[in-house]
């Protein structure tokens, strides 16, 4: 087997293994930690009977291993169980929300990724001079600011002072595309700001690293133009680290989305998760946790695969 193929198979199996382990962790985190789930759901005033009923209903009387396996097999078949609070099928209610979240995240990514790379390139091109300093300073600030602050500043400026975009992101089925874009404009802008700083700084570092290598000097001593050097010698080698940076930050975006959805009351996965954590609706929390973990692990896996594929040593073995 070609070594690259072998490595890919290895990485993908490792990713699946990790996801499996993560499912155990999520299950253990919600089921076996001190604190009785039934007690927590019903509060201190619950009678012993209602507690016992709820325990039976949740299957809390089964041994933990049985409960875990039941949950896992059902989840693998697409059955994520029913919510405690309203008895609805979790997979169904989650489907639409997952779509909304992905739509928002993809919109943010489409803006953030090229912007971060271009800003990173500019910072490298003018390294140490004012464009680099300005970009680095501004991004340092956005990195230090919590997501919800960015959210409220955006609301305060863009929807209260200037009334450009709505402060609440209401979306519904069959909504016209432009209306939908208008509705998610603010959360998308905030998400872009959230990931831009990290992504740009890491891109800058990755490209700088490549620009300092000896083969760039060789190219310079061949009399090549700076632009030719960057395009022909630096970029092919910078692809892997930059893609890696992008993927890591998209994974970061997955977390940012939770807070941003709450700020803008956007009907997505994050909002769904936070709501049900407060309601202590364990099956929903488990399901959401699993989905978030899967997305996160998946993005990291893609980053891994890209860096394997772009490594000439692996592509052209001795």
């Amino acid at each position: 087997m070609h070594p690259v193929l072998k490595l890919l198979v290895q990485r993908i199996s490792l990713g699946l293994l990790l996801l499996f382990a993560a499912s155990i962790l999520i299950f253990v985190g919600t089921q076996i930690l001190p604190g009785d789930v039934a007690q927590n759901i019903l509060g201190q005033g619950a009678t012993p009977e209602t507690l016992a009923n709820l325990r039976a209903e949740l299957g809390l009387n089964d041994p933990p291993l049985t409960r875990y396996l039941n949950w896992l097999f059902a989840a693998m078949q697409g059955d994520l169980g029913t919510a405690l609070t309203n008895g609805q099928d979790i997979a169904t209610s989650m489907g639409k929300r997952l779509g909304n979240t992905l739509f928002l995240a993809v919109c943010a990514a489409i803006i953030a990724v090229p912007l971060a790379i271009v800003l990173g390139l500019i910072a490298v091109r003018y390294q140490g001079r004012w464009p680099d300093r300005v970009i680095s300073g501004v991004t340092l600030a956005t990195v230090s600011v919590p997501e919800f602050l960015l959210g409220y500043i955006a609301i305060f400026v863009l929807s209260v002072q200037f009334r450009v975009f709505p402060s609440l992101s209401t979306v519904y089925d069959g909504m016209p595309f432009l209306d939908r874009m208008n509705a998610i404009a603010l959360p998308a802008i905030v998400l872009v700001l959230v990931v831009l700083g990290h992504m740009m700084r890491m891109t800058r570092a990755a490209i700088l690293n490549v620009m300092q290598s000896a083969y760039v000097e060789t190219a310079e001593l061949k009399g090549l133009r700076k632009f030719t050097i960057i395009a022909r010698h630096a970029l092919p080698n910078a692809v892997a680290p930059v893609v890696n940076v992008v993927m890591l930050n998209l994974a970061y975006l997955v977390v940012g989305v939770v807070v941003v959805e709450v700020v803008f009351v956007y009907p997505g996965m994050g909002q769904y998760l936070v709501d049900h954590v407060s309601k202590r609706d364990v099956p929903v929390v488990q399901a959401c946790g699993l989905v978030f973990a899967a997305v996160y692990i998946g993005l990291n896996l893609v980053a891994d695969i890209v860096s394997i594929l772009s490594n000439p040593r692996l592509r052209h073995p001795k």
Partner: protein
């Protein structure tokens, strides 16, 4: 028209230093250097690390590496001052009139591109030939430089060829655009000695065949003597001596040059063997998780108070032998006898006294000392640990040891970062001596040092040996060092001892094939050595 191709006048080069906690300062790294290279001639630039020789070499392309600036003088190439021709003019010069061969070809090639594409890139960029012509020229250069499969080697990626081959490909890359001048920046330093001679011969032949001029930068005078017409000796960015190769090698006038030429003249009268303090018996060893024996059935003795040199190239297993003896790598077979008794294979199982008896000195003194400890702590710790010395008593003994290594007052409270490379290595010697060991393993202790400093260290080690009657297991790849200090020698090749005995015995014919190759590959400080050796080898090959 004059024959002068490159003329450098009164060159001054500055750089900016960033000392911690202080504002940046401009420092002068080269000053008042002038020289000229005629068409078809080779000038050797020689000096220790930090002498500014690479910086001067790159000035012929008006290139400053990492913040280095040429701030004064003239650099005339083909009759014009290239410091005045602007960046567009420089782009026309670089890769066309002047080209460059770097020390580490492995880093200087773009890992993502095929060799051929990189070799002909400058030629095509400057529109000197068509793609077909350039490729044909590259292939003929590959052939001239003795590369295997010259037609197809260009289709490979850099990581698919060996270091010695890559260095030759880089030479082909520099020669492809038919430049007037090539700068060779330590092109053979990173190579093993048996590979170095072939690359050196290939470079010399290519220079002669193409009639190009060259600047050849190296720290090894014996190497440059083989290839240069003129030599300039540099020290701390200033010229020391400049003349023909014959003059520099055979009748140097400056004291510094004389020292460089005679640097390998540390003398030691060989002792005949005594009772062994250490016996290595049939050691076979491999690293955990590998299936390959790095050492195969190695047996050697180290006589009391004498020096056994372990010689070999990288990968021969000589450093692994040190790890087995110290107990860092327990062998899979065989045993280590110390004073006639068997040592525990794992150092953690050895007694404190066993550990004390065998001390170690490392190649990189920098990483062998904790940067956060003072010299006093570093040397004092073995005294405290093995002999329970404390306070004033300990301090007195540390000072005695510092005197022994010829470092006087005032060092005891300093930190390693404040010392020079040679001083650091001396402190490591003192730390080893502090344990009052019966034997010291010296792992390439002089190979990171400049020749003059290295000679000082060797002399010190010999003096200490006489006084303390300590035995050395001296690991090195450098035969000149071996000649200087060994009593007995073991030559290692691919994990085996291929030759072992007294120094004179090992270094006298008849030789086995490998020792012959190794010994004849070490450049000697005399003109014409390279041609003679290559001719001898051809004759032998024809004879067989």
């Amino acid at each position: 028209m004059s024959d002068v191709l490159l003329e450098v006048k009164d060159l001054k080069i500055e750089a900016t230093a960033y000392p911690p906690g202080e504002p940046p300062q401009d420092i002068t790294i080269v000053e008042g250097v002038s020289f000229a290279v005629d068409k078809g001639k080779v000038l050797g630039l020689i000096g220790e690390s930090g002498a500014g020789k690479s910086t001067i070499g790159l000035s012929a392309m008006a290139y400053g590496r990492g913040g280095v600036r040429i701030t004064g003088g003239e650099v005339m190439v083909n009759g014009r001052d290239i410091l005045q021709i602007g960046s567009a003019g420089l782009r026309g010069l670089r890769g066309k009139e002047v080209t460059y061969v770097a020390q580490s070809a492995a880093a200087a090639f773009n890992p993502a591109k095929k060799l051929m594409e990189q070799v002909i890139e400058a030629t095509l960029h400057h529109k000197l030939m068509t793609k077909e012509e350039a490729e044909a020229r590259a292939i003929s250069l590959f052939d001239q430089l003795g590369l295997p499969k010259p037609e197809t080697i260009g289709n490979r990626y850099p990581h698919q060829v060996s270091g010695g081959q890559l260095q030759r490909v880089m030479t082909a890359m520099a020669l492809c655009p038919k430049p007037d001048l090539v700068i060779f920046d330590e092109p053979t330093t990173a190579l093993d000695v048996t590979t170095q001679i072939d690359v050196l011969a290939a470079i010399k032949k290519a220079i002669r065949d193409t009639g190009v001029s060259a600047l050849y930068i190296t720290h090894d005078l014996a190497v440059v003597a083989q290839i240069a017409d003129d030599i300039m000796v540099l020290q701390s960015g200033q010229m020391v001596e400049y003349g023909t190769t014959d003059h520099i090698i055979n009748s140097p006038t400056e004291e510094y040059t004389q020292a460089l030429v005679s640097v390998r003249s540390v003398k030691h009268v060989e002792q005949t063997s005594g009772a062994p303090v250490l016996s290595v018996n049939g050691i076979t060893a491999r690293y955990k998780g590998t299936k390959f024996d790095v050492l195969k059935d190695v047996t050697v003795d180290l006589p009391e108070g004498q020096t056994l040199a372990i010689v070999g190239e990288s990968g021969s297993g000589k450093s692994t032998l040190a790890r087995v003896i110290t107990g860092l790598l327990p062998p899979s077979d065989g045993e280590i006898l110390f004073d006639g008794r068997t040592l525990a294979p794992d150092f953690e199982k050895r007694t404190r006294d066993d550990l004390r008896e065998i001390q170690m000195i490392y190649q990189m003194a920098d990483t062998a000392m904790n940067p956060r400890q003072t010299i006093g702590t570093i040397i004092g710790r073995p005294l405290e640990f093995y002999f329970g010395l404390r306070g004033a008593e300990k301090r007195k003994r540390v000072q005695e040891l510092l005197d022994d290594i010829e470092m006087g007052e005032g060092f005891i409270d300093r930190y390693p970062a404040e010392l020079s490379g040679g001083q650091k290595q001396r402190v490591c010697i003192a730390r080893a001596l502090a344990a009052k060991p019966r034997m010291i393993i010296c792992d390439e202790v002089t190979s990171a040092l400049d020749p003059l400093v290295a000679a000082g260290i060797l002399k010190l080690l010999l003096n200490l040996q006489k006084r303390e009657n300590v035995a050395y297991l001296f690991i090195t790849h450098d035969l000149a060092t071996v000649r200087a200090i060994a009593d007995s020698i073991a030559v290692m090749y691919q994990g085996r001892v291929v030759r072992y005995g007294n120094k004179t015995e090992v270094l006298s014919p008849p030789f086995d094939d490998y020792t012959d190759l190794l010994l004849s590959s070490v450049p000697e400080m005399e003109l014409g050595w390279l041609e003679r050796t290559i001719a001898n080898r051809k004759m032998e090959a024809a004879g067989n």
